[in-house]
Amino acid sequence: MTEVPPDMSITIEPTVRVETRRQPLPPRDRLDRVFHIDDLAAIYGTKPAIKGVTMDVYKNLVTAIIGPSGCGKSTYIRCLNRMNDLIPGFTQTGTIRYHGQDITSSDVDPVAVRRHIGMVFQRPNPFPKSIYDNVAWGAKVLGMKQNMDERVEKALTQAALWDEVKDRLKSSALALSGGQQQRLCIARAIAVEPDVVLMDEPASALDPIATQAIEQLMHELKSEYTFVIVTHNMQQAARVADMTAFFSISKGGEGQRWGELVEYDATEKIFTAPSDKRTEDYVTGRFG
């Protein structure tokens, strides 16, 4: 065992290193806004989940949402395609403008919203159907019936799964491994040609190799889609995201806790020169 010299001071280095091969981001005013979220609050019954979230999501970028458990990351991303409508007692205030249109208003059909804003969930949830039907079913139901074989092949190729399953398209999707199932879910989501793909911790149930495959495909597909990804894995955000939003938990009177947006900036800035102390504590591993 080597002794640590007593004079050597211990410095806390950032635990997350940002990869440098990414393209520098153009100035924000030259980016297209997909979402313009203004003062969003989400409440379950009487319990607030998030409050006062204001941010823009830009086209053809990967936007990561990071933060400690219970900070409302999942609630937030599920607001973006009205997935929370399904939860009894859920209410929200504020506006979410999607290409200028407020999708939170009650006369907007949530089915139409989800048609354009697809979602990949934390745990792989393929339909108990064949691999082919998993990808084709949504498109078929939504009336995209032409050239189905090409559509399925394209989606599976984009999801980096085609080579592994092309010889057994008719076999059950439930026989695939977890990582393959999750890529199948991504293929299913992009087969209906959405504009935005929301990903709620898509790799949290997967091993590192499957995680890498999914990060790689996000990187390749962002020229066609806009991704918003929730992750509790900071390294993952640093690897895949162009923009990163850090959410934290705020505490109020009577033991109330809710999530709020602390800082939202280019990923590089968030991880190397955060402007808020809480962000710095979180990304350097001092908290959370």
Partner: protein
């Protein structure tokens, strides 16, 4: 000087031998209760089968009753078997779609408060005595119109509906929410999600519910006494007039002074028991199979 571990004094204090005896007694009583339950079924089946076996033959199923027959006349209860088929079949056709629709509403659409309220109502409906249902249907359909197979089938359907709905609800609740979200997340409408994703998962469970409900009402006598019991001796398949049924035939034959009629009643009871046992087993078999399917798709 706190002592650690179990000391000899501790052991003496808790009186372990007495605990062991009490435990054994408890186990013995509960096991005895289970034996009583099984024994009841065995005794009933055995005593019915023993008395019915010698009258159980092909004529019972194919021949009709001969009124005022003296001596060994070949006769059977074909009219009752045909009538029971029609009555239970019609009741099933009335119950299954309505039961599924109620269950889909409660599980997929209704607010939790509405769901628990309606579930309670269904449980109360399930507890209503069959004879009360019979009187209700008698007042509703039979008074002024006369008895009919329709009225009898409707009375049976009233008894089947809560069973059907509750069992369908249970399998719908087994379908993981992540499957619904997967479909809704694609922008598929809710009704389409229910029809194409949720319900196909539950077909096995729904079939089980229907089969068990059929087994439950196939032997019901009371609802048919007031609604479909004034019958002739010929085989009839038309529900516009009263139809004979196995339970009512058993009841009527048991009142007869002729020992041959009693034998036929026992034989009919045997057939009914076999039918109920077989349908219950089939229901259980389908249930285990489909439950395995749902759990692997989670």
């Amino acid at each position: 000087m706190a002592s650690h571990g179990i000391t000899r004094a501790d052991m003496a204090a808790v009186n372990l031998p007495r605990r062991r005896v009490v435990n054994r007694l408890m186990e013995g009583f509960t096991a005895l209760a289970a034996v009583i339950g099984v024994a009841l079924l065995v005794i009933i089946v055995w005593s019915v089968a023993k008395r019915g076996a010698h009258a159980l033959n092909f004529d019972l199923l194919t021949k009709t009753p001969v009124p005022f027959a003296i001596g060994p006349v070949k006769q059977g209860l074909a009219n009752a078997f045909a009538g029971s088929l029609v009555l239970v079949g019609l009741a099933t056709l009335m119950t299954v779609p309505v039961g599924i629709l109620i269950a889909v509403y409660l599980v997929e659409y209704a607010r939790p408060s509405v769901r628990s309220g309606v579930s309670l109502v269904l449980d109360v409906l399930n507890g209503i005595p069959a004879i009360v249902v019979a009187i209700f249907v008698y007042g509703l359909f039979v008074v002024g119109h006369g008895q009919s197979g329709w009225a009898g089938a409707f009375a049976l359907a009233c008894l089947m509906l809560p069973l059907m709905t509750r069992s369908t609800m249970e399998v719908l609740l087994l379908v993981p929410n992540s499957l619904r979200e997967a479909s809704l997340g694609l922008g598929v409408p809710r009704w389409r999600t229910i029809l194409s994703i949720v319900l196909p998962q539950t077909i096995g469970g729904i079939t089980t519910g229907a089969v068990l409900a059929i087994a439950r009402v196939a032997g019901e006598t009371a609802p048919l006494l007031f609604t479909s019991s004034l019958v002739g001796t010929h085989v009839s398949w038309t529900p516009t007039h009263a139809l004979q049924s196995i339970p009512v035939a058993i009841y009527e034959l048991s009142e007869s002074p002729d020992p041959a009629d009693h034998a036929r009643a026992w034989a009919a009871a045997t057939v009914l028991l076999i039918f109920i046992l077989l349908t219950s087993l089939a229901g259980r078999w389908i249930a285990t199979r489909s439950r395995r399917r749902i759990s692997t798709s989670r």
